[in-house]
């Protein structure tokens, strides 16, 4: 049946088509078919095994579903809500701002409520499809066991996606009105990534920092909240959305009403505020500043370094992304540097020597993206009477100087603590220079304005560069660790291997030529 032009389904189909093409549709389709086929085989295998071998387990699972799985369901629901909220925040920036097609749509005779409803629903459906990819296996397994009530997970999750998307769009809108569109975009992008990073850190650090006794003491202090009648007890209304996953009619109706209400509210607010001028504020300028002109200094080295540092300083999004990615390394460092036998951490010097190259290389990757790949006027540089290599090496210096300066306070701290500082300085300096050279020789141009989170680390999808960087990260992680432990032979071996990788990168740059355009 043909869909009526201008209707909600028609616009929704348009939104989903854009999303599908952004995902490079046919490859997703092939991947999905493969994934589902493997999944189906797995499910059948597990089901056959279960019905024939695990009769005890089967009877346990078929007991009271809610009492067995309420707390996992609560965790899944709230974790899923947070994940969906963060994803929807990022998507809201795109669909309400970056895509730049709202003028076209709002100028058309289609009702703005239909337009915003389709935007909201499309984001929610995209999230829901993502969830389904993860949950089909366990839910399918449950259904094969006879737990038909688990099918309630799907409507509950769809409601969850609607609520998370509604909340994300309202938050995005609030930021636009509070901070202005440009800052709002930045804040929302940073917030979206920071939430994940901080949650990840929060979930890992207690088990890394606290011993079992301390954990138990904390658990005892908050136990009253979980007693019957407590705010967080199993009967609490807070868990109604999670109970909807077990097809409890009341919970399902409650969750459905809440999600529909949130959608209605969000569409109304979007309609009113966009008509009231939010669209204009998306392109409005920040207030002008009229400081007295600073005296010029036109020394070439100075102007190039200053320009690059200005570009870095004025691009906090990329920098924040890099800093956040470093947060993800912290639990890894704790695991790597804790001696399981004594439950003690390694010395400060060893920690610094291991962690610093990884952090330095992450920063190099971010700054190289701005200074090398993100050069906005390569033609201007090429039309200037200056040789290209001079620009390239000045840019390299612009990347490395601020990063090297970060090693100074760490070195001073090590000196004060009486720890060996020179190995850290040498490893840090060598690793950052190494990584900067990898990027200088192999980076491709990229438009920073359009860069998305997924493309940040290797924006040109250069597989070889990605492999070289992967080897570089782990090579320097190992080299730093071995240096901290004082294993000279391992250090020499790793240094030779890393030199080989660098030689490949250099040879490749000679074979391909510079593609940076300056």
């Amino acid at each position: 049946m043909p869909i009526k032009q201008g209707s909600l389904p028609w616009l929704l189909r348009h939104e989903l088509r854009l999303w599908w093409r952004m995902l490079r549709g046919k490859w997703v389709l092939v991947g999905t078919i493969l994934f589902c086929s493997v999944l189906l085989l797995l499910l059948l295998g597990v089901w056959l095994f279960a019905v024939t071998q695990l009769t005890e387990a089967r009877s346990w699972v078929l007991g009271d579903l809610r009492s067995q799985f309420l707390w996992p369901a609560i965790w899944i629901w709230w974790g899923g809500f947070l994940y969906a909220f963060v994803q929807a925040l990022g998507q809201s920036v795109v669909v309400l701002g970056d895509r730049n097609d709202l003028d076209l749509l709002i100028a058309s005779p289609i009702s703005s409520k239909v337009i915003f409803s389709s935007r909201l629903l499309s984001v929610a459906i995209e999230l829901f499809i993502g969830f389904c990819g993860f949950l089909i296996l366990p839910i399918g397994l449950g259904v094969l066991f006879g737990l038909l009530r688990l099918l309630g997970v799907f409507p509950a999750l769809f409601c969850l996606c609607l609520m998370a998307t509604s909340l994300a769009m309202l938050v995005m809108l609030w930021f636009v009105r509070w901070l202005g569109a440009k800052r709002a975009r930045l804040v929302v992008q940073v917030l979206a990534t920071a939430l994940f990073a901080l949650l990840f850190l929060a979930s890992q650090l207690p088990s890394l920092l606290l011993d079992t006794a301390q954990m138990q003491a904390i658990a005892q202090q908050v136990a009253f909240l979980f007693q019957p009648g407590g705010l967080l007890s199993a009967e609490s209304w807070l868990w109604l959305p999670a109970r909807a996953m077990f097809f409890e009619p009341g919970a399902l109706v409650f969750t459905g009403l809440i999600s529909l209400g949130s959608v209605w509210l969000t569409v109304e607010v979007l309609h009113q505020t966009f008509i009231g001028g939010t669209q204009e504020s998306l392109t409005a300028k920040a207030p002008r500043s009229h400081r007295a002109p600073r005296p010029f200094n036109t020394n070439l080295n100075r102007v190039v370094l200053l320009k690059e540092w200005r570009m870095i300083w004025r691009n906090p999004y990329i920098i924040s992304q890099v800093v956040i990615s470093i947060i993800f390394f912290i639990p890894l460092m704790f695991l790597l540097l804790r001696d399981d036998a004594t439950n003690q951490f390694a010395s400060l010097g060893a920690i610094a020597t291991t962690a610093s190259p990884l952090i330095g290389m992450s920063l190099v990757a971010g700054l190289a993206l701005i200074c090398l790949s993100g050069e906005e006027a390569p033609d201007l540089l090429r039309s200037a009477p200056v040789r290209g290599p001079r620009f390239r090496y000045l840019k390299l210096l612009a990347i490395l100087l601020p990063i090297w300066s970060l090693a100074v306070p760490i070195a001073i701290l090590l000196m004060v603590q009486g720890e060996p500082w020179l190995p850290m300085v040498l490893v840090f300096g060598a690793a950052t220079t190494y990584h900067a050279l990898l990027r200088l020789w192999n980076a491709r141009p990229v438009a920073l304005a359009n860069i998305s989170l997924q493309k940040r680390q290797n924006p040109s999808r250069d597989v070889v560069l990605g492999m070289l960087e992967f080897v570089s990260y782990f090579g320097w992680l190992g080299l730093g660790h071995q240096t901290g432990q004082g294993h000279g032979e391992a250090v020499v071996g790793l240094a030779i291997a890393l030199a080989g990788v660098l030689a490949i990168a250099y040879w490749r740059s000679r074979a391909l030529g510079s593609t940076l355009g300056f």
């Binding site: 300028k285 920040a286 002008r288 500043s289 009229h290 400081r291 002109p293 600073r294 005296p295 010029f296 200094n297 036109t298 020394n299 070439l300 100075r302 102007v303 190039v304 200053l306 320009k307 200005r310 570009m311 004025r314 691009n315 906005e376 006027a377 033609d379 201007l380 540089l381 090429r382 039309s383 200037a384 009477p385 200056v386 040789r387 304005a449």
Partner: protein, 256 residues
């Protein structure tokens, strides 16, 4: 008269497509020269080779006596190139941008700063000197890029569609700046799709099609040879649509 730009058998091929085909041309100093052609004729490729942004497959571009292929640094020193998409930095302010460009051409700060401030005032950008370039309209970006081209006082300026995106007042301002610049003995080569501009402003006009110069001369010369065209637009269309126009070629394909 001294030669500002000499193209010697300049050629460039992209795959099977011959973008510029053995182009010969001489443009004297102190002249505004309009370089015209339909879309894809090879104008921008030619200008990019002249500016040293693209290496020719064969031939050379001699800028004020300096070969762009053999001594690019010397050739670029007195040349400014302004493409149709302004070469700006979104996160720099106008004065920061001009300071950077002055540094690239090694212009002393004591000369560059007053000139930068004067140019911003002249081009109506002084009030927005505190804003980032990313907030500018296309016209404002175009004007700032022009200021960047003028900051190092080039003797030859190459402009690709310099008036696109400008409002009426800004277009007139830019035209006046260019004419004043030429009256001081400098040379401007510009491309445009607006024939009236070329007809009004240019002392000589070159028309390129399929990478070859098909006509060259003053407007009167082109008109006289055409015999039919009243306006540059009609002459241009007649030439381009006829495909070949050897009758219009000036001897030696140059403005001598």
């Amino acid at each position: 008269m001294a030669i500002a730009l000499q193209l010697v058998s300049l050629s460039k091929q992209f795959g099977a497509h011959q973008a510029v085909n053995t182009l010969n041309l001489e443009i004297p100093t102190g002249m505004l020269y309009a370089f015209l052609g339909p879309n894809g004729a090879g104008k921008t490729t030619t200008l990019r080779m002249v500016a040293g942004l693209l290496k020719p497959d064969a031939g050379d571009a001699i800028v004020l006596g300096q070969s762009m292929t053999r001594s690019p640094k010397a050739a670029k020193q007195h040349l400014a190139y302004l493409p149709d998409e302004p070469m700006l930095y979104s996160k720099l302010r106008p004065l920061e941008y001009l300071e950077f460009v002055a540094g690239l051409w090694n212009i002393a700060a004591r000369h560059a700063q007053p000139l930068a401030e004067e140019l911003l005032q002249q081009l109506g950008l002084w009030e927005v000197r505190g804003d980032f370039c990313e907030t500018f309209s296309r016209g404002m970006k175009q004007k700032l890029a022009l200021a960047g081209a003028l900051i190092h006082a080039p003797q030859l300026m190459i402009l690709d569609e310099p008036l696109s995106g400008l409002d009426v007042a800004a277009a007139r301002l830019v035209k006046n700046i260019l004419l004043d610049y030429v009256s001081r003995g400098n040379t401007v080569i510009l491309t445009t799709h607006i024939m009236e501009i070329a007809q009004q402003m240019a002392q000589r006009i070159g028309i390129i099609n399929h990478g070859q110069l098909i006509a060259e001369g003053t407007f009167s010369e082109l008109q006289a040879r055409s015999g039919e065209g009243e306006t540059l637009e009609s002459i241009f269309l007649e030439l381009v649509q006829s495909g070949t126009a050897t009758d219009f070629q000036v001897e030696g394909q140059g403005a001598k």
